[in-house]
């Protein structure tokens, strides 16, 4: 089936949703998603952030769809034409949705541990207004202890149901869920039970906001101060492939490896996440890369630095061939590759 999103054509298999097709194309036209999570079955359709305009329904029925469609739950049809970023209506709708999501969301980013890797923060940065029109009091809940590892801040929750689906699909018995209705709906455990399932920690990773955060990392650091590395260990319960966030020699927290859409590649177990904070437990593979404009990249130099090459200034930058000899630590020879680069004047 052929779909066109923002003028870019792509061939997709039947059953693909518009959001998945847009993610295959990538770039600017990918709609933001707060509740949809590709690894969780049945997620999506709740937050309305991913609304898109369908300008042409399909080849058989070319009429445009009258309303904006939630792209995460709308299937592609052959010959469909979708406007995501290029539509004025969509931009307007996303602005409104962002405003609605922020109505009850407290402005405590300076305190929140999720700040810097928060989906709602990104969304409001892109689509939000800088001032609020909401003058009523925000909805608040009593703090509740839901276990030794996970910290619940119900005030920050946007009710995306991702954590409920994690508990349903990864763990064998779910002890928490959404209680009450409407404005009062809140995430809570059934009769103050502690969440202690071996895979319950993944709730922290899937939470798009700071409603569920790591208690072992609580207020330890801000995400952009610690250095993320890909690491793995031999874990009997999960794949053991994680990102460790280090500060000096200390592992401050362990999370799953999140891709460009902030979805974890593989779910990890609580043992890896909470109990193994010794660097000796992990084999570190290398620095974890994040998207270009992420705040996590601040003050980190893990991008490959290429020497600037200006043809006219070649001589000035690299110097004369006869001047090029190793001055410091002459006794230690350069390796073969290093020597080639050195001869070219790149070292």
């Amino acid at each position: 089936m052929k779909v066109t999103i923002d003028g870019q054509e792509i061939e997709v298999a039947p059953g693909t949703t518009i959001l998945q097709a847009a993610r295959m194309i990538g770039g600017e036209s990918v709609p933001p998603a707060m509740c949809y999570y590709s690894k969780l079955e049945g997620s999506g359709g709740k937050c309305r952030c991913c609304l898109v305009e369908v300008a042409k329904g399909s080849e058989a029925d070319p009429r445009p769809m009258p309303k904006l469609m939630a792209s995460c739950v709308t299937g592609c049809q052959d010959g469909m034409e979708v406007n995501s970023k290029s539509s004025e209506r969509v931009t307007e709708a996303r602005k409104s949705v962002t405003e609605f999501l922020l109505i009850n969301h407290p402005l405590d980013c300076p305190v929140c541990d999720q700040a810097g890797e928060c989906d709602l923060q990104n969304l409001s940065f892109k689509h939000g207004k800088s001032e609020t029109r909401f003058i009523e009091e925000k909805r608040t809940f009593e703090p509740e202890d839901i276990g030794p590892n996970i910290q619940l801040h119900m005030n920050r929750c946007i009710l995306c149901y991702r954590c409920v689906m994690v508990a349903d699909q990864l763990t064998d018995n779910r002890v928490h869920g959404v209680m009450d209705r409407g404005d009062h709906s809140n995430i809570s455990t059934c009769i103050s039970k502690a969440i202690d399932n071996e895979f319950s920690g993944n709730m922290i990773d899937v939470c798009p906001v700071g409603a569920l955060t790591d208690k072992t990392f609580r207020f330890k650091s801000r995400v952009w101060f610690s250095k993320p590395y890909d690491a793995h260990r031999n874990c009997p319960t999960c794949s053991g492939k994680t990102t460790v966030w280090m500060f000096g020699d200390e592992i401050q927290r362990v999370t799953g490896r999140k891709d460009e859409f902030h979805e974890v590649d593989e779910f990890i177990c609580n043992g890896c996440r909470f109990d193994h904070k010794d660097p000796k437990d992990w084999v570190i593979e290398g620095p974890r890369k994040f998207e270009k404009d992420s705040v996590i990249n601040q003050n980190k130099y893990n991008r490959k630095l290429e020497p600037v090459h200006i043809a006219t200034e070649d001589k000035i930058l690299k110097g004369r061939e006869e001047d090029r000899k190793k001055i410091s630590m002459v006794k230690i020879p350069l390796s073969k590759e290093e020597e080639d680069e050195f001869k070219k004047g790149n070292l």
């Binding site: 405590d108 300076p110 207020f219 650091s221 601040q298």
Partner: protein
Amino acid sequence: MNIESISLSGRKKMVSNKEMTFLEKMYLVAIIKGLFITIKHLFRRKVTIQYPEQVREMSPVYRGQHQLKRDEEGRENCTACGLCALSCPAEAITMKAEERKADEKHLYREEKYASIYEINMLRCIFCGLCEEACPKDAIYLTTSKVLVPASYEREDFIFGKDKLVMPLDVAIRNAQLKNAN
């Protein structure tokens, strides 16, 4: 006319390597000329001051020496969000956060506070970006005409919370002033 002979700046001078005459080789005229310049400056107004004894007047808009503010109730504003450290171009600021205990509500305004907050005054360039980045109005460059005092030890230039946090009596006075108005 070619490009070499045109002076675009108007300051182009021809330099010659001509042989000096005997009189010029004696340097007598040159020495007298130089001495004349020296003596002339003896009678001019001095541009330097005797620094530690004399101090220059500060500009009225001078901003220096940071302060971590307290609110009207005397609680510290800073919540250790790290934005000042992030924005600092000199990487002078470090901090460590801690969770506020139940009996410390009168000390700190937010749930989280900075247990360690240090500014390396040797690194600080007084650009004021920390003040601009602060979402809680906590850090300010004060108008106090205090420069960083000189010292022999490097450690003395790392200002901790003891030197940075606004004194409690100032906070009380501010609150009284605000109530009076």
